[in-house]
Amino acid sequence: MNSPNPTTVAASPPETPPRRRAIRLPKDRQAIVDNFFRFQSLFGLVAVFLIAIAVSPSRNGENVFLSSGNLANIVRAVSEIGIIAVGMTFVILIGGIDLSVGAVLGLAAVGSATLMVDSGLGIVPTVLIVLFIGTAFGATQGAIVARLGIQSFIVTLAGLQAARGIARMWSGGLGIPIAYGEGPQEAPEAFSLLSGSINGVLPVPALIFLAIGVGALLVLRSTAFARHVYAIGGNEKAARLSGVPVRRVRVTVFAISGLLAALAGIIHAGQLNQGSPNDGAGYELDAIAAVVIGGTSLAGGSGSMGGTIAGALLLGILNNILALNNIDANVQLVVKGLVIVAAAALQRLRPRIA
């Protein structure tokens, strides 16, 4: 990567030498302003990180926030929302929205538990089936949006209800606990890895999140598909007249979102050792918040995957530091609201093209 930070790559066109020069030689004030807004979520992340270090309580002379255990907890806590937000970024880039992801997460958690515990399937078939269900669910929503021309807000609002209903029917309305072992009604031991860590430091869900994030970053940076995504969000009519397969891209984008929501659901089941049909309620809103804080425009056509990842981490750090200082959970919600508005307000200040 030739840019100073991956956060910017998705939004930046391939030829950026003037930009890079501007960072090293900040003579041009306009360039400073431009780059500030481009790196906005990264600056935000660094700022929140530094504030968190400053206000962190310390125990035995050690900064609690900076302890490896705490940092690992933060990444673990944001991994599910982060994975969903990655999918959400694609959807929002084409100017859509996916409200069904939280419910699909619940459906996937129930599916994982049921298939392993009740149906006695192994991990691989279970994961494949659940991922397929999520993908198919997303693709169906995408097809309805693309074919019938209904707004994605409405289609996925309906999808949210439907996925939640299916999850409750499948589970009988109750959470299905996952016990591990070799016997009947027991899931393979390996599934519990999802609640573990590598070398006792890096939580497995965090690893998956980072892998997905980096993968999505590369997709958005380097593929023709990504350029089609940006084009549709930028001007759908122009994209269609330029030969962009608008419908196919739409369906694919919603399928990606469904796939990643299902993946988050599997992780969810692994971390909690159960699959409950009510899991993931409201996750869609946290995911949208991460995307918005990351600087992606809800109007579509502009934004970056790096921003989304930074946005998810920023929300996680915020929650963590407020909790470390024993600040009431309800206050945390208010602070989260303020941060979202502040991030959006910063975007409004962004220099606009006449």
Binding site: P13, P14, E15, A224, G234, L241, G243, V244, G301
Partner: protein, 512 residues
């Protein structure tokens, strides 16, 4: 006809930047008169009516209403003075009823302060009756046909006690029967002493209803005549002026074999869209190396024909045959069209041609992405090279390929649209008003480009409302009227008069 002028405009002038949109124009409207305003695009008609309707507030010259000098601070002032405008794009709210639209913003109130629905309905009904319209005022405007919506607009003007009514191309979107009804309404209004400023491109209509014709050309009055005395040729001569200077010399290559062959092409839309004229019997051919012009009045169906040929038109039943090369051609969409070597530069550059906020490079490569990728991955160096080449070939003036297209001038934006389509190496290039909103320098460059492309063997079909452009560029001009081919004029016999006559000619026979 009385001689007392309702409105007298004297010495009206307006500059936009350094350009005179109109200069020293005099215009009077008397009670009970239909005063037609004619002129080509850019002749200054819109500017003049915008001054009269209070949209343009700063201008030279004076306006008198009933002999009293007035100065409008906005459209509301003009309305209060009794001047109402019916724009081509109707200003109605589709989700509200006829009565609600007529009284929008000045609804009659009851003593309690609520809207007096009954009174509103009664008054709306009365106005509709005056216009001879049998419409229930409770109907939603969105469910009305365009002609009926126009009547609602006129009804609103009546409810404002308008004494001068400006109508901007009122028949552009109307069917024949609706045109007749509109003319009956105009006759009614004239009898009631309303003065009407009537703008249209259709000569036949003007002969039918105008009492006086003022022709604008290049922002000034070219002449004011009585249509019952002046012949149609006289009026066209006034509009066009002296013969047009060709922008460049000739010396073109001989055209090759027929590339595009269209026979009896017609589209019957499943759901007709108001204001669209789908092809209704188009015959034309374009040889490779040939530039064929597409002429016609507004609403003749030029854009719709090009869209149909690009697979981007309205859906519906298709009749007739289209072949490209020797194979039948029936594109399922723009993607399929591009795959067959057909490219399209749409009329609405900003709305349909470009992603304005995206970079020059992103726009240029959008269509040709698949040729710039390996396994779905973009080959950056190749992409960069391709963009650079394309920008050089078309002499695009852009500081860098990474700046947003929106920062470029109109001419350079248009070159980006061309660059994007030309990267597909098309055999047939469909152009819809390719020089609209482009300055004269960029215009000449685009003309040169088109000649170069034709000389390299490309077939070009070009729709334009600027007749001088068609005449100087095209080997042949196909004239459309209401979606049908009505004339094919070879270069030798194509003159502005001939094209306009053809575009209007059948109008007379039909509307009777």
């Amino acid at each position: 006809m009385t001689d007392r002028p309702l409105v007298r405009m004297t010495g009206i002038g307006k500059r936009f930047g350094g350009v005179h949109a109109c200069r020293d124009i005099d215009l009077t409207v008397t009670a009970g008169e239909v005063h037609a305003l004619l002129g080509e695009n850019g002749a200054g008609k819109s500017t003049l009516i915008n001054v009269l309707s209070g949209v343009i507030t700063e201008h030279d010259g004076t306006i008198e209403v009933d002999g009293e000098p007035v100065s409008f601070a906005g459209p509301a002032d003009a309305q209060r003075a009794g001047i109402a405008t019916i724009h081509q794009e109707l200003d109605l709210v589709a989700g509200l009823s006829i009565a609600e639209n007529m009284f929008l913003g000045r609804e009659p109130r009851t003593r309690l302060g609520t809207v007096d629905i009954r009174r509103m309905r009664r008054q709306a009904e009365a106005h509709l009756r005056t216009l001879g319209a049998d419409l229930d005022p409770r109907r939603l405007v969105g469910s009305l046909r365009v002609g009926e919506q126009q009547l609602v607009e006129i009804g609103r003007a009546l409810s404002l006690r308008a004494r001068v009514l400006i109508m901007d191309e009122p028949t552009a979107a109307l069917a024949d029967a609706e045109v007749e009804r509109l003319f009956a309404t105009i006759t009614e209004l004239r009898r009631a002493g309303v003065g009407i400023v009537y703008i249209s491109h259709r000569m036949a209509e003007i002969e039918l209803i105008a009492d006086r014709v003022t022709v604008l050309r290049n922002g000034t009055v070219a002449g004011s005549v009585d249509p019952r005395v002046a012949s149609r040729d006289d009026i066209i001569q006034l509009m066009v002026g002296r013969s047009v200077d060709a922008l460049f010399g000739e010396g073109r290559n001989e055209p090759g074999a027929v590339l595009l062959d269209v026979r009896g092409l017609a589209v019957t839309p499943r759901r007709p869209v108001p204001g669209r004229t789908e092809p209704a019997g188009v015959d034309l051919t374009v040889r490779s190396g040939e530039i064929v012009g597409l002429a016609g009045l507004m609403g003749a169906g030029r854009t719709e024909l090009l869209e149909t040929l690009f697979g981007a038109g309205g859906s519906g039943r298709r009749a007739g045959q289209v072949t490209i090369g020797d194979r039948p051609y029936r594109p399922s969409g723009p993607r399929a069209a591009l795959a067959r070597g057909v490219a399209f530069v749409p009329e609405d550059r900003r709305g349909a041609g470009l992603m304005l906020e995206h970079s020059v490079a992103d726009n240029v490569v959008l269509s040709a992405l698949s040729s710039l990728t390996t396994l779905g991955l973009v080959r950056r160096p190749l992409l960069r090279r391709t963009v650079a080449e394309q920008l050089t070939t078309l002499a695009v003036k852009a500081a860098s390929p990474s700046i947003p297209v929106a920062t470029l001038s109109g001419g350079n934006q248009q070159k980006i649209v061309f660059a994007k389509q030309l990267l597909m190496r098309p055999r047939l290039l469909l152009l819809d008003e390719p020089t609209r909103g482009v300055d004269i320098g960029a215009k000449a460059e685009i003309y040169h480009l088109l000649h170069r492309l034709a000389d390299s063997g490309m077939a070009i079909l070009l729709a334009s409302s600027e007749l001088p452009e068609l005449l100087s560029l095209c080997d042949r001009v196909v004239v459309l009227h209401r979606g049908r081919t009505v004339a094919v004029l070879p270069r030798a016999s194509a003159t502005q008069q001939a094209i306009l006559a053809a575009a209007n000619g059948d109008d007379v026979k039909e509307s009777r």
